[in-house]
Symmetry: none
Subunit: 417 residues, 2 copies
């Protein structure tokens, strides 16, 4: 079983868009145990498309094609597939009804080009797109499969997850590579590798693979087993060890995100939260709210970006703002405590820092961040420094704040720095 | 003149690393007027590498290969290139001296694998790497050029910028492709194509290329000219026409984002803003604050996710919440107007909607969003429906709200739906 990915789009070749579709598909197919042997990116050019799909179908069992399914003139994938598979376009009534509804629901006018989105190659299996107007298509030829999908990432992912992966699993009885993932926050990859060296050696000695998958502010560790499901119990034991060793850092297993983990905890314990944000400017609340069902625990926030509003809206002491500055323990503590009262919540998280790239001083350099947490047991604050990148500072602050809240809810003690 | 990019590395195929090298090289070569016809990603496999470089050299004048030049066992690009070009590795003394110095300077031990980094294919032109230990290589065959570079992005970029681009310019007297981009919000790709059909035809008749680059909530249009800088004035005239035709939608040109455009307007006019958010839960404020220097205009926000806080904190009338519901014109108008007073800002934007995926009713389905804007001239509200995806609803609301604000500041009138 071998797969190839073909990405179609001039915007990819001229570097205007980074090809994240290919890496996502590569990752998901690998997880299913279907190795991707090659990714090819080409322009919206008929001959290029014909040559590439022919090459791919001759050497691979599965070919995933993305892009070129939009309604505009430069999108020619559908016509080219008709040419290659010797078929023609026909209006698919079911798809036309859905596309029509898509426009009606949004109160938008339906144009002729939109109707053409329902014209699909006769004989292919249509893969319904519930997120947009470009359907996916499933072709088979000489025992190989070609799947054509829209290039818009969330439409492509939705069709892959709901229709393509289940069908591939059923057809190929693919033996997924057995793997388990554990999730950590607030610890560097190299520090982790150094600290857990013996643990890692034992994993390798057991014949397992271990991969570090770092991203901003967190690290995923993936243990893979070539043998089968029995090993999964062994892997979970390794994870238990890591959790005992690093309770502050290990926040979950599998595919959970930290805001989901925190959300589940709050729902379980019937607790509510709010935030008072300065440097994160709403990004912390937005991360909490991005989880469906967050209205069960998230009540609201004050974003007090200016010092004036810190005083006027959440009642931070003017003299403390003057004496200690907005980026100080005294100020984040008042933000959290007063915010908790005013929002009427069980927990309130506050943030204040210098996100950068400008605005630092010798005493308080760019990247200095204070996070405060208030609960009915009292309040505390932690100081961090995350460096010079504005975007990274906000991301790191959001993750650190969520993890602080997680530990607070669970009663895991921090050493106050 | 045609180019092809070959990226070598298992980590790219399994999606552990996104292939940003290919997009960077594609962008830079396009700018130089060298069109990239194809990008291929393959694993560190001798046969795959041999087949791919042979194919590429047969159809392209320039082949850029990245990756597989590290000191570990899985890096086989150098050996494979020797095999393909019928040569052998020889220690290059100049490179060896530099690699030795690299280790001495960092106080690190020089291992045998590091010495092997100075073994390079006899007969190729060596491209010095001053950022790492893997040299670049320049081969020529039957009039085509193959350049092999390390996969570490900053090493690759450094060699490209200092050695490869200057040499390519000298050799090929390349004329850069001229292009300009215009940015639109709140208009679908298909609607735009239909509405601007004549305009598009004239662009094609002038011998220009036109590409639609859609993303969630916005569309970029790129016009390219093969002729030279004189055409840029013509292109700007086409953009002026589009701006006159669609003043509500066209928000900028080039590489600006909507939050930057709005930020510059606010700084220019010395105006301040704040938000009162419900369904966006801070994402609107976070987008505004992600721009460095936003503290000049952004003061703060109330995130009133619960109805109780809508009343308690920003004083939305309880009976209006009861009679019209939180997702209503009456409520977003009060949120914007009262927020403007309490935050002491020139403009206040409010949002309230059903982000989904649950929580809709027949009267107010998932995806219904109200956005309100209050200024000293008065206030108004607009209703939208963006569909079922929670993430997309938030993104669309943020972009629509920023664009409403832009139009309001500029005095561009909306038809109230």
């Amino acid at each position: 079983m071998k797969a190839e990915i073909i990405s179609i789009g001039d915007e990819l070749l001229i570097g205007q868009t980074v090809n994240t579709n290919a890496s996502w598909i590569g990752k998901e197919l690998s997880m299913l145990g279907i190795p991707v042997k090659r990714c090819v990116t080409i322009s919206d050019d008929e001959n290029e498309i014909l040559v590439s799909i022919d090459n791919a179908l001759k050497s691979s069992d599965l070919v995933i094609v993305t892009g070129g399914l939009g309604p505009t003139k430069d999108d020619i994938t559908k016509h080219t597939l008709c040419k290659y598979f010797g078929t023609h376009l026909e209006i698919n009534q079911v798809v036309l009804d859905r596309v029509t509804k898509y426009f009606t629901d949004r109160g938008r006018e339906m144009l002729d080009v939109n109707i053409q989105q329902a014209a699909l190659p006769f004989g292919c299996k249509v893969l319904d797109n519930f997120q947009g107007t470009a359907s996916g298509m499933w072709f088979e030829k000489d025992g190989s499969i070609l799947i054509s999908l829209p290039g818009v990432p969330f439409e492509m992912k939705s069709i892959m997850e709901t229709l393509v992966f289940p069908k591939l699993k059923e057809l190929f009885n693919v033996s997924a590579i057995f793997h388990r993932t554990i999730l950590l926050q607030g610890i560097g990859e190299s520090y982790l590798a150094e600290k857990m060296k013996d643990w890692e050696d034992r994993i390798h000695n057991d014949g397992f693979g271990l991969a570090y998958l770092p991203s901003v502010g967190s690290v995923k560790l993936r243990i893979t087993s070539p043998n089968g499901e029995d090993d999964l119990i062994k892997i979970e034991k390794y994870f238990d060890e890591l959790t005992t060793e690093l309770p502050i850092n290990v926040y979950g297993r599998g595919e959970e995100s930290l805001n989901e983990v925190v959300g589940k905890l709050l729902i379980d314990k019937k607790l509510t939260i709010g935030t008072v944000e300065s440097c994160t400017g709403g990004a912390l609340a937005a991360s909490i709210v991005s989880i469906s069902g967050s209205s069960n625990y998230f009540q609201g926030s004050f974003l007090t970006y200016s010092n004036e509003l810190k005083n006027k809206i959440v009642g931070v002491n003017k003299s403390d703002l003057l004496n200690f500055g907005a980026v100080s323990e005294a100020v984040v503590l008042q933000m959290a405590e007063n915010g908790r009262q005013k929002l009427g919540v069980d927990f309130c998280i506050s943030t204040s820092g210098i996100a950068g790239p400008d605005g630092g001083t010798e005493a308080i350099p760019v990247g200095t961040i204070w996070i405060g947490i208030a609960s009915k047991e009292g309040s505390f604050a932690m100081k961090y420094n995350f460096g010079n990148s504005r975007e990274r500072n906000v991301q790191m602050t959001v993750l650190s704040a969520l993890n602080l809240l997680r530990c607070t809810i669970l009663g895991i003690k921090f050493k106050i720095k």
